[in-house]
Structures are given as C-alpha cells and as structure tokens.
C-alpha cells in the first residue's frame, strides 16, 4: 500500500513536470522568433530605412517609409469601417441579442472569425477589385475591416455583458430611455474592455498579409491616393524575403522588426489595459 502511494506520487510528479516542459517548449519558438527578428533586423534598421523609398534593384540603400505609411493608411481606413460596425453590432447582440436573429449573428461571427484570411482577400478581389479593375488601399482596408468585424463584435458583446445589471437598473430608474442608458452608462463602463478587444483586432489586422495580396497589392513607391495599389509592411516582407537578393533579405528582417514592434506593443498595451481594470 505504501509503495503504491509512492508510485502514485511519482506519476504525479512526472506528469506535472511534463506539463511544465510542454509550456516551456511552447515558448521556445517565441524566444527564437523574437531573437532572430531583433538580431537580424537591427542590422538593416536605419534612418534611411524608415524615411526612404526603395532604390532600383541592385542599388544599395533605400527604405520602406512608403510601406510603413501604407500599412498605417490601410489599417486606419479599415478601422473607420470595422470599429463602429463591430461595436454597434456588439451592442445589438448584448442588448437585444436574445432573439433567434441574435443567436444566428453570434454564431456567424464566430464562424466568420475562423474563415481563412486569404479567402477574405479573394472575396474582396471578386467584389471590388475585379469590378473597379484596379488594386487599391480601399480594397485592402475593406478586407481588413471584414477580418476585424467578428472580433470586435464579440469583444464588445462580452464586455457589455460583464457590466453589472444594477447599473442599468439605476440608469433606467432615473428615467433614462434604454438607448441612452446603454450608450451613457453601459458602454462607458465597458469601455476599457472594448478598447482591449479593438486593439487586439487592430494589431492582428496590422500583421495580415494574405488578404492584402490581391486587394491593395504592392507598390515600389508612394501611392498618391488610396485608390491606387499601395505598399504595406507585411506584403513587402513577403516580397523581399522571397526575392533572390541578400540585401532585400536584410530589409525584410528590418521590416519584420518594425512590424513586430508595432504589433507587439499594441497587443501588450491592450492586455495591460484590461488587467488594470478590476482594481
């Protein structure tokens, strides 16, 4: 009997160790990826990289300012559509979502969140690019907005549901109509959580390249208007990394460092925002 207890404790320890090992193993790629990006990206990072545009093939130097600005532009345009739409849809699900329509929308949002980003790119190509006969930042922004929509919708709903019901009752008891109670009391209380959801969605959109391949395409220089093919950091990383030139590879790493820096800062800030909330 005593040996049996000892054996069971041994098994317990082995399994605990294995689970810890799995967790550490899961973090090895993160450390390796970040290490490579920082070490190899730092070499190519310079002021000209951040302010210049590409030189002709074969010439040294040049930068990716146009892609950095292009990325911000496409994501910014996507936010203009995706954030209001997502937040309003989320409000509907939280406040009026007990209907069959609400359940259907909720489920569709979850399914839409799982749709591959490249098919969203194909969809926007067929819908917009093929009809307008041109790639544009607008098309890229639409693709990113569709990708952001389900995440923001569900985050808004979840965080609105976390607001204590007593707050709503107090607002209604003071004579506010329901829509004002929702906007002035519920939404304001849930705002940090919703902001977190939005920032995570925006950070993810910032790193997407597959949906931009056939929508905003790429550009070797500045796009004069958003109605032209526009360069973006992720697409440029792909183009440069798959090119045969060693110099371009170095630029791809530098661009990756900038992109990872942007995306990780946003993700970390988003999580800190929600962590601070309960206190």
């Amino acid at each position: 009997m005593r040996e049996r207890v000892g054996f069971r404790q041994l098994v317990d320890r082995v399994v605990r160790g294995a689970c810890l090992l799995a967790t550490v193993l899961a973090l090895v790629p993160l450390v390796s990826v970040l290490g490579f990006v920082v070490v190899r990206g730092a070499g190519g990072l310079s002021l000209t990289f951040l302010t210049g545009v590409p030189k002709p093939v074969g010439e040294a130097g040049g930068g990716m300012a146009h892609a950095l600005v292009g990325s911000l532009q496409i994501v910014g345009l996507a936010c203009l559509v995706g954030i209001p739409a997502g937040v309003l849809a989320g409000i509907h699900l939280a406040e009026f979502g007990a209907t069959r329509f609400g359940r259907f929308v909720r489920f569709s949002a979850d399914v839409l969140a799982g749709v591959p980003s490249i098919t969203v790119g194909l969809f926007v190509y067929a819908l917009v690019v093929a009809r307008a006969q041109r790639f544009s930042a607008y098309a890229g922004a639409l693709a990113l907005a569709i990708l952001m929509l389900p995440t923001i919708t569900r985050a808004t709903e979840e965080f609105l549901r976390l607001v204590p019901e007593a707050l709503r009752e107090a607002a209604l008891g003071l004579g506010l109509p329901k829509w004002r109670a929702t906007l002035r009391v519920m939404l304001r209380t849930a705002l940090p959580g919703i902001a977190t959801g939005i920032m995570l969605a925006v950070a993810r959109a910032m790193g997407e390249s597959a949906p931009l391949l056939f929508t905003s395409f790429n550009n070797r220089g500045w796009a004069r208007t958003p109605n032209e093919p526009t360069a973006s950091l992720p697409v440029n990383i792909y183009t440069y990394a798959t090119s045969p030139y060693a110099e371009w590879h170095e630029q791809a790493w530098a661009a990756a460092l900038v992109l990872v820096g942007l995306v990780l800062c946003m993700s970390v800030a988003a999580r800190l925002l929600v962590r601070r909330r309960p206190s």
């Binding site: 689970c19 997502g86 799982g114 098919t119 569709i146 919708t153 997407e208």
Partner: protein, 321 residues
Amino acid sequence: MTVSAAPGTPRSLFGGRRTGDRLFSRLTGCFALLVLLAISSMALEMTRASAPTLLAFGAKFALGTVWDPLHRVFGALPFVWGTVVSSLLALVIAVPVSLGVAVYLSELASAWQRDVLGFLVEMLAAVPSVVYGLWGAFALAPWLRASLEPWLARWFGFLPLFQGTNQGFGMLAGGIVLSIMILPTISSVSREVLRAVPASLREGALALGATRTEMVRVAVLPYARSGLVGAALLGLGRALGETMAITMVIGNRAEISSSLFAPSYTMASVIANEFTEASDPLHLAALAELGLLLFLLTVALNIVARLLVARVGRPLGGARA
C-alpha cells in the same frame, strides 16, 4: 436582456422613448446584419467566381493530380493533399503540447506563473504570419536541413516518412511552423474549456485522495473532452487556411510524396502565388474554386468545433479563434 425583460422600461407613458429604443435596436441590428451579410455574400461571390471550373471539371477538379495552367488542366489533389497533411502534422505536434500548456496553466500553476506564462503563450498568437514565414525560411529550414532531418533519417530512416533528400523546405517545415501558429489557439480555447469544469468535480476527486494528476485524469478531462476536441478542430481550421508562413517554407511543388522531407504545396499557397499572375479566366476560376473549397471546409469545421466547445458549458470568451 431584451427590451421587454428589463424591468421598469417605460412602455406607454412617453411614446417618444419607445420610438427611440426601437430605432436604436433597428440601427444596431443593421450592423449586426453586416456580419451575416459578409459571410453569406462571401459564399455567393466565391461560388460565382469559381463557376467556370465548377462547370468544366466538376468532381474531377478535386481528384485530378495534374495542375497545368498552360494547358488549362486543373486538378487540385496535390494541393488538397499538401493542405490536409501539413495541417494534420501540425495537429499531431501541437495538440499534446497545447494540452500540456492548458492543463499546467489552469490546474497546476501558481497565480503568478499563470499570469506570466499565459501572457507569453498568447504573445505567440500576436506574431504576424509573414514573420513566422521569414523565421521559418531563414532560421528553421536551415536548422532542419543541417540538424533535425539528418538525425531523423539516421534513426527513423526505415520509415518512408523520413526518407529522401533533406532540403529543409518541405512538409516537415510546414507542419512545424503551422503547429507553432495554432498552439496558442488550441491552448487558449482549452483553458477556457477547463475553466468551465465545475470546481466541485475537482474537490470531490481531491477529497477522495487523488493526486493532482489523478484529479485531472478522472474528473477534469472526461468532463471537458468534447470541448477539447472542439479546441483541436478550431486549431485545425486555422492550420488549413494559413497562408503566408506555410507558403514561405513548404517548398511549393505540387507533388504527392510519402516523405515529410519532400516539398509540397497547399491550397492557400497556390492561391497566394498564382492569383495575381493568372490572366486566363479559367485559371482564375480554378484558383477561386480552391478558395471556395477552403472556405467551405473551414466553415464546416468551425461550426462543428463551436458546437463541441459550447457543450462544455460557458460560452467562449471572445471571438478570437
């Protein structure tokens, strides 16, 4: 949650308020409708775009093994094979690890470990796909070619899986990169599922003298099983549709090989590589049909996975999948 359920909503005294509320509900409802519109018009638009090949090839499209845009022959089987095998390989690697992560973080770790390690694992999901591709092409693939693949060939070379020349770029590299990318999905959904297991089950097992491991095995895992399967399917859905990272490491050759060292090609990769260069309408339609297949496959998987996860109890936190 509905209007009528909220106590004290003025019904008739101030007609204007009711109008305002109804307007508000309608207005926000329009935006909720956008979600439905997006997914249904996606299905419609992709079907329309792939109509030419749907009509010309029918089922032969998915079963043909020759993909030759020049001669207008489109058989997608090598891509389907590459997609399915690389995703399954990713699952084989990622499921045990993510299960270990989820069990450790939700059942065994102390509070600060849960915070710090959980945060780091979620950071894996924040790294953009194309950066994983860059890392896979310039760091992982050379290491595979120089270290892991020779080792595998030496000790397990009797298996057809580990035969052939080791080039670094290929199915194995693709599977590994995908497994890293789906790991945070599977582990975070699994954690949600484990969190939904009632505490009384755990307490009961511990009170009967079970060790932590036995508690997890007899009380937690059986209750959570369907949700954990759902988590794995959500991961599979992500792996099937992943594009940039796998395009950069899988070698992009439309071949069906039994070796994991051999290069392969996925549906998403061929779309990414050929779509902007295709000028033949039939070629474009064939690529669109690949997208349609991918879309239908992932939608079906996601529906099943969501239903399985929902069975364990609490609704999923967030739409992040």
